[in-house]
């Protein structure tokens, strides 16, 4: 397996220490320190969820406003900064209306399942060399598995509402999300082939001499495009937002939800968007790795002045902007057109891409040094 390890040799690797590592190291010496690290991890993820909710929803509304020749929220706080706070307060204090004939247990559990699936992903993303909750050695496989749980939340939400509209939304969501996971996984596998490891930190560190989007000889770019399309479908955003298609199904699977539990669905959609952008940034755009060019040492010195967390944030923010841009520009696909896009177009391209990547890696047929 030497050729795989040779590809992952980093020139000046920053050491990655995750919170889990610190907790593990402290277990023998000071149990309380270890517990402190674990609590810090939990609190950090919770805080991140909350902050992301506030910031992303505000960003979405402002970006939507500017795309639509209007200003967006302007009243609550300067330039509407406190708008999401006001909205959260409203949703918390709202009456929780549950249909009388709904399946109470599942109706209660569905938004929690949705939120849980997205928050679990946040725990393995490498935000910076020192900011990561845990670096599971099957990193990207874990992410793919856990985000599949999100389907359960939507399907149960649609079913348990005892409402034909919600049911149609839930059924569509199940078909859509399960199909597009395949394309997403295929493009992820291309990156795993090049990086040689499943762990997310390992993938980031393998991009030291260049990000995979251009270092992977064209297969990286194709995989990136496929991943973005598949992620848009996974997170149910236009042009693939038929499960919640506002003009068709009023609210789709979340029609019968109000108050805090609607907030959970809403929040999980935005955190999902963040998670998908973060994974795309990690796999294709180098995660927290700055923009290095081989041989230009001064340039590399300058770009490494910017802290890695800021690099990660910038890349993720750029991809989030792309997702929002899609939403406010494109019309919606019909269900069968969506399925056709996946099974007849994206899947064959993904397979060919994977085979090409495998051939390149095995035969070391590089166009330029990897």
């Amino acid at each position: 397996m030497d050729f795989i390890y040779s590809m992952t040799t980093c020139t000046a690797a920053a050491d990655v220490i995750t919170l889990a590592d610190r907790a593990a190291a402290a277990v023998d010496t000071n149990i309380w320190l270890s517990i402190l690290y674990m609590v810090l991890a939990l609190v950090g993820i919770g805080a991140l969820t909350a902050v992301l909710g506030v910031v992303l929803i505000y960003a979405e509304r402002k970006i939507a406003g500017h795309f639509q020749c209007r200003l967006g929220p302007m009243r609550v706080g300067p330039h509407g900064i406190l708008q999401t706070v006001a909205d959260t307060l409203k949703l918390l204090l709202k009456e929780d209306v549950v249909p009388a004939s709904a399946d109470k247990a599942m109706h209660f559990a569905a938004p929690l399942m949705s939120l849980m699936a997205t928050v679990l992903v946040l725990g393995v993303i490498p935000y910076s060399p020192i900011l990561q909750v845990t670096d599971v050695n099957i990193g990207i496989l874990y992410v793919t598995a856990v985000s599949g749980l999100g389907v359960m939340g939507i399907l149960l939400g649609g079913w348990s509402s005892n409402n034909k509209w919600s049911l149609v939304g839930g059924m569509r969501a199940a078909a859509q999300m399960i199909s597009y996971e395949i394309s997403a996984t295929l493009s992820v596998l291309v990156m795993v082939l090049f990086a040689g490891t499943l762990s997310l930190s390992g993938i980031v560190q393998s991009q030291e001499s260049g990000w995979w989007i251009w270092r992977a000889h064209g297969t990286g770019l194709v995989a990136f495009v496929i991943f973005i399309i598949a992620s848009t479908a996974e997170i149910n955003r236009t042009p693939f937002d038929i499960p919640e298609g506002e003009s068709e199904l009023t609210g789709g699977f979340h029609t019968e939800y109000s108050g805090l539990r609607f907030a959970f669905f809403f929040l999980s959609e935005f955190i999902n968007m963040f998670a998908a952008s973060a994974i795309a940034a990690t796999l294709f755009l180098g995660g927290w790795m700055p923009f290095y060019i081989e041989g230009f040492e001064t340039f590399n010195k300058i770009t490494s002045l910017i802290p890695p967390a800021l690099w990660f944030l910038g890349k993720t923010a750029f991809l989030i902007f792309i997702f929002m841009w899609f939403r406010w520009t494109f019309p919606r696909l019909r269900v069968d057109q969506l399925m056709r896009l996946e099974w007849k177009i994206l899947l064959p391209i993904g397979f060919i891409n994977l085979i090409a990547a495998a051939v390149i890696v095995l035969t070391k047929f590089y166009f330029f040094p990897v």
């Binding site: 939507a64 639509q68 020749c69 034909k164 509209w165 298609g245 003009s247 068709e248 919606r332 019909r334």
Partner: protein, 385 residues
């Protein structure tokens, strides 16, 4: 044969369970409150999975009894009721009644009035089609289109506000003339609007018409053949998209339409895409008409009869129609010689266009139903009157 009267419940009989291995059909209610109802229209769908088997529209949620009200109002007062039917082509509705009354009472109007009426009606047609475009974009998921088209409607609405005083309920074209004269800088303002709208229609084309997803949603969907369209009484862009060039502005020119050269836009297959593109092209043709008329508006009075005179129609039956943005709006008046109509009936374009959906939609999916309904461009108060 006898006449059997039924109720809605007789129609909504749930199909029996077909037994093992087959799917059961179910009723889905797109109730009067729905994001795409374009108003309060209730549509009951009989679905098999996602495929539509039957469409049962239930109109009447906006029925205000306009025709009964008209029997108690004189002909000038009726004009203000016509604004409220198809509010997107209010001026053309006014024109329909005004024209019928003028022809019946023998009132001759001069060229200035005709030209002003034509220019205002065409401006309103552009405005109406812009709203239709925005709503179609919103229904199909491109929310931004809605806001762009409303921004453009505002520009046209400003000139209406300046001349007429109202943005929606115009009450402007009266039997005998128009209510208010145009301002001296009317021509310049309208020319600015026209150059702006020309660019905007290009932008509409770039934003939606060229979009692959939109074309996939609209091409080949919901085909209405020409013979069925004629038998169903469809008029306007719906009929023209099916291939038959019936445009009252060309067939029986009224107003100043004879002085302007324009094309009647006709589609080929009668699918949603044709209905979509016919309206986009009609916007361009309307701009063309106004351009030809705006520069020489003849001089003269804007009201040939004194406003306070009561108009009495001789006894008889009168029918006349105009081409609104939605189709042919006909006005049938039966007068017994008084100053109020004994019976006044509006042949509304949306009423006749709506029922086409019961023929077009079965066999397509829910998402196509929305595309079809958007492409028919229905205004519900026009259906219900």
């Amino acid at each position: 044969m006898t006449a059997i009267v039924r109720t809605l419940d007789d129609v909504l009989i749930a199909p029996a369970h077909p037994g093992r291995g087959a799917t059961q059909e179910y009723f889905l209610n797109m109730g009067p409150q729905h994001p795409i109802a374009h108003g309060s229209l209730r549509i009951i769908l009989l679905l098999d999975g996602e495929t539509i088997r039957k469409v049962i529209p239930v109109p009447g949620y906006v029925h205000r009894g306009i025709e009964k009200m008209c029997e108690h109002l004189n002909y000038r007062q009726i004009i203000h009721l016509t604004d409220r039917m198809d509010y997107l082509s209010a001026l053309m509705n006014n024109w329909a009644v005004a024209r019928t009354v003028e022809k019946a009472a023998g009132i001759e109007i001069n060229d200035r009035i005709e030209t002003i009426r034509t220019i205002m009606a065409e401006l309103q047609r552009i405005q109406s089609h812009a709203l239709w475009w925005g709503v179609l974009g919103m229904d199909l998921g491109a929310f931004t289109a809605f806001l762009y088209s409303f921004r453009d409607r505002e520009i046209i609405g400003e000139i209406f506000e300046e001349i007429i005083g109202a943005r929606l309920t115009m009450n402007y074209i009266q039997p005998g003339g128009v209510m208010y004269d145009i301002t001296p800088d009317f021509a310049d303002k309208v020319k600015k609007i026209l150059s702006y709208m020309k660019r905007m229609v290009e932008e509409y084309d770039t934003l939606l018409s060229g979009n692959v997803i939109l074309q996939e949603r609209l091409r080949g969907v919901g085909i209405l053949t020409q013979s069925r369209a004629i038998s169903l009484g469809c008029t306007g862009p719906v009929l023209r998209a099916s291939g038959f060039a019936y445009d009252l502005r060309k067939v029986e020119p009224y107003g100043a339409y004879e002085k302007a050269q324009f094309d009647v836009v006709v589609g080929t297959t009668g699918d949603c895409w044709d209905r979509y593109y016919v309206r986009i092209e009609e916007m361009r043709q309307s701009i063309r008409i106004i351009e030809q008329l705006i520069d020489d508006i003849p001089a003269g009075p804007t009201m040939v009869t004194k406003f306070n005179t009561k108009i009495k129609l001789p006894p008889g039956r009168y029918y006349n129609h105009v081409e609104t943005a939605r189709g042919v709006l006909g006005v049938f008046i039966y007068s017994d010689g008084g100053e109020k109509p004994y019976r006044l009936h509006f042949r509304s374009p949306s009423f006749n266009n709506m029922w086409a959906i019961t023929e077009i939609a079965p066999g397509w999916r829910i998402a196509d139903m929305i595309a079809i309904q958007s492409s028919l461009d229905l205004v519900i108060p026009d259906i219900d009157r």
